[in-house]
């Protein structure tokens, strides 16, 4: 069996007396995207900061590519790519210069920066200074920078936060391509659609703890309630009826409604990740 690219066991982290991450454990395998889904302040970014060496490992164990993590490990850090939540680019330099500079830090001579910019749709702005870029363009450049060293492990912190749907979809497509190439991707988001669409598995994180970790499908099956929504004509108006998908009573009622001349539409409905998150934590994903 393939060894996980990221192995985390009982990882905890404190900011003073505040415990931001509480004994979290998870693995991410090559080619897999693990979505960390949780509201702001849940501990997602702190986990990434510890794993990428931005914060010291205080408690627990963590391995990346079978190497114990630690701050300032150049061998390890030459094989990871990180996209930060803040757009920390060199504004005085062009997009191409930013990528070439970071490539040079990995010792890459032929970085393929132009191709990387093409992938994120910035070819026509390659020589423009980043200070003239919009937020979405800067985010796309951040993603291109994270990929510049063809990393085996990618840490992406809120990669589509605040982007328009078109740009967000473009970035998700690029992330999927990287996973298809074989990179293990740890992605934090508080966007349930993104987690659902992009992640192979989803971890719900709340108040520093992982409360559930599985594929989106299984989480829905385990915690969600599927239902059928039936719309019927009712005089001049419309009435709706919602039936649980499972159960004999539902089946009989559904047959009855299906035979009704007033039947307009029948839709199946499945639980959303947000509904499951609320069910598990008692709070929403925003805020």
């Amino acid at each position: 069996m393939t060894a996980p690219s990221i192995e985390v066991k009982d990882l905890s982290h404190w900011y003073g007396n505040l415990q931001a991450v509480k004994e979290v454990s998870f693995d991410v395998y090559p080619g897999e995207i693990l979505g960390f889904l949780g509201p702001n302040g849940a501990g997602k970014s702190t986990t990434i900061k510890v794993l990428t060496g931005q914060l010291a490992l205080q408690e627990g164990r963590a391995k990346i590519l079978r190497r114990d993590i630690g701050r300032e490990d150049p061998v390890l850090q030459s094989q990871i790519g990180v996209s930060f939540e803040e757009k920390n680019l060199y504004l005085e330099m062009s997009a191409l210069e930013n990528l070439n500079f970071f490539a040079s830090l990995f010792g890459i001579r032929d970085a393929g920066s132009a191709e990387a910019l093409q992938r994120v749709g910035l070819s026509d702005r390659a020589k423009d200074r980043v200070s003239s870029f919009s937020k979405g363009m800067r985010q796309r450049l951040m993603i291109a920078r994270a990929f510049i060293n063809k990393p085996s492990v990618l840490f992406l912190d809120e990669p589509t936060d605040g982007l328009d749907p078109v740009t967000a979809n473009q970035i998700r497509k690029t992330i999927r391509e990287e996973a298809d190439r074989g990179a293990a991707v740890l992605l934090t988001t508080h966007n349930m659609h993104e987690a659902d669409e992009l992640s192979d598995r989803v971890a719900f994180i709340n108040e520093g703890e992982i409360v559930a970790l599985d594929t989106a499908e299984r989480l829905k099956l385990e915690y969600g309630k599927r239902s059928i929504r039936v719309r019927l004509r009712d005089g001049d108006g419309v009435r709706e009826e919602k039936l649980p998908l499972d159960g004999e009573q539902s089946s009989a009622r559904l047959s009855e409604l299906a035979a009704s001349p007033d039947l307009m539409t029948i839709h199946t409905e499945e639980a959303t990740l947000e509904a499951i998150f609320i069910h598990l934590t008692g709070r929403g994903l925003v805020g």
């Binding site: 850090q77 920390n88 830090l105």
Partner: protein, 416 residues
């Protein structure tokens, strides 16, 4: 991809990036070009000559003062040998090195001379001419204008009163508002000295306490022109100005958090700090060296020593920039910290421009040895052996501030 990129290549990549970022910031460039042009222009504009004489005017003319005094003294039965001493005083007064005497007829003319209502000219034959600029008389050909700094009006009974001690004479001193305090003090001391010589006894006069910093000292017969004094100062100010740019470069890296993007690559904290040190030192040193070349400070004998001193100064200000860059939370904060650090560090330079105006505690400031070394090497041409103590002193300060700068910046980077 290589995971074994050498430290050298990382440093080169980081420094190239710093050069690129620096060269694209219009404020940095403007400050650099303006600084270089401004200081070099100032250097060539300030006078290259030294005013060695103190010019002063007196009334009545010495001859009148002495003849009237002698008459009175003879009437009072003063022995002849004492009168000879008075004549010697007259001769000494006129021949005193560093003094140029303008004798005028009365106090009214004296006041007009000091108040610049009347001009004073000195001919080729050392004749002094008082000229009314509003009058018809022409200025003699070849005469050069002189400006008395101070005027003294002696009572006609000055000599007799002083020698006989009957009455305490009063000498009125007229000085233009622009005359420095020390010139006035010198004139007062001169009057006391004259009285002492004539009376032959020590007068109950207390001279003010004076403490002179050795920096920029006025060596006898070896006075320093303002231009020569500017030479070390220009290099020093260039180093100081570079602190602003470098601090800003460092703080931008921290505030925009680009440093965190660097530290998740094979770049280590020490690479970052070393690259900033190398870039900052090279930038400051390069500019200081250019300026020193433009003002002709380098010579065949001092170039290496001067380079070492400039290197020490560059390191010192790079370290200060690290402290400032790591301290400020935004541009205003950084500006405030810059002022906080740089104003005290600037004080030793005043000791060069205005010797005697600063106290001995200035010697304790970190920049003192740098300013002093720049001064002594560029002006007096001191050599390695004469410089070694100050160089060790400067190196110790540089190490201390550099250590503090590294510590603060490293903590700041680690806390991001």
């Amino acid at each position: 991809m290589s995971s074994n990129i050498s430290a050298g290549r990382l440093l080169i990549a980081l420094i190239k990036k710093d050069i690129r970022v620096y060269s694209r910031n219009m404020i940095y460039l403007f400050l650099m070009v303006l600084g270089l042009a401004f200081f070099v222009a100032i250097y060539w504009l300030v006078p290259d000559q030294v005013e060695e004489d103190i010019t002063f005017a007196i009334t009545p003319p010495l001859a009148t003062l002495i003849s009237e005094g002698k008459e009175t003294l003879l009437e009072h039965g003063v022995p002849e040998y004492m009168l000879e001493e008075i004549e010697e005083v007259e001769a000494a007064f006129k021949e005193e090195e560093g003094f140029l005497l303008v004798e005028v007829e009365n106090e009214d003319i004296l006041k007009k001379v000091i108040g610049r209502e009347l001009d004073v000219y000195k001919t080729d034959q050392d004749q002094i001419i008082i000229h009314d600029p509003g009058g018809d008389k022409e200025i003699p050909a070849g005469a050069s204008k002189i400006v008395p700094d101070i005027g003294m009006s002696f009572p006609s009974s000055f000599l007799s009163d002083t020698v006989l001690g009957h009455e305490k004479p009063t000498v009125t001193v007229f000085a233009d508002a622009a005359v420095p305090e020390e010139i006035r003090g010198a004139m007062e001391a001169l009057i006391r000295e004259m009285a002492y010589q004539l009376a032959g006894k020590d007068l109950p006069v207390e001279m003010p306490d004076e403490e002179t910093i050795i920096l920029g000292q006025d060596r006898i017969g070896d006075q320093i022109s303002m231009r020569a004094k500017m030479r070390p100062l220009i290099a020093f100010f260039i180093l100081m100005m570079e602190t602003f740019s470098l601090a800003s470069l460092i703080s931008n890296e921290v505030l925009q958090r680009t440093v965190t993007a660097l530290l998740v690559t094979p770049v280590r904290t020490w690479h970052f700090l070393m690259a900033k040190t190398l870039f900052g030192t090279a930038l400051a040193m390069g500019q200081a060296v250019i300026v020193l070349i433009l003002v002709g400070a380098f010579s065949a004998t001092n170039w290496l020593l001067l380079l070492v001193i400039v290197l020490l100064g560059s390191l010192l200000f790079t370290a200060v920039a690290m402290l400032v860059g790591a301290s400020g939370k935004d541009f205003i904060g950084q500006l405030m910290y810059s002022m906080l650090f740089l104003i005290p560090l600037m004080i030793p330079s005043f000791a060069v421009l205005f010797p005697g105006t600063v106290a001995t505690w200035v010697n304790l400031l970190p920049t003192y040895p740098i300013v002093r070394l720049l001064h002594d090497v560029t002006i007096y041409g001191i050599h390695w052996l004469d410089s070694i103590n100050l160089m060790i002193y400067a190196a110790l300060w540089t190490l201390a501030i550099y250590g503090a700068g590294l510590f603060v910046l490293k903590r700041k980077v680690a806390a991001l």
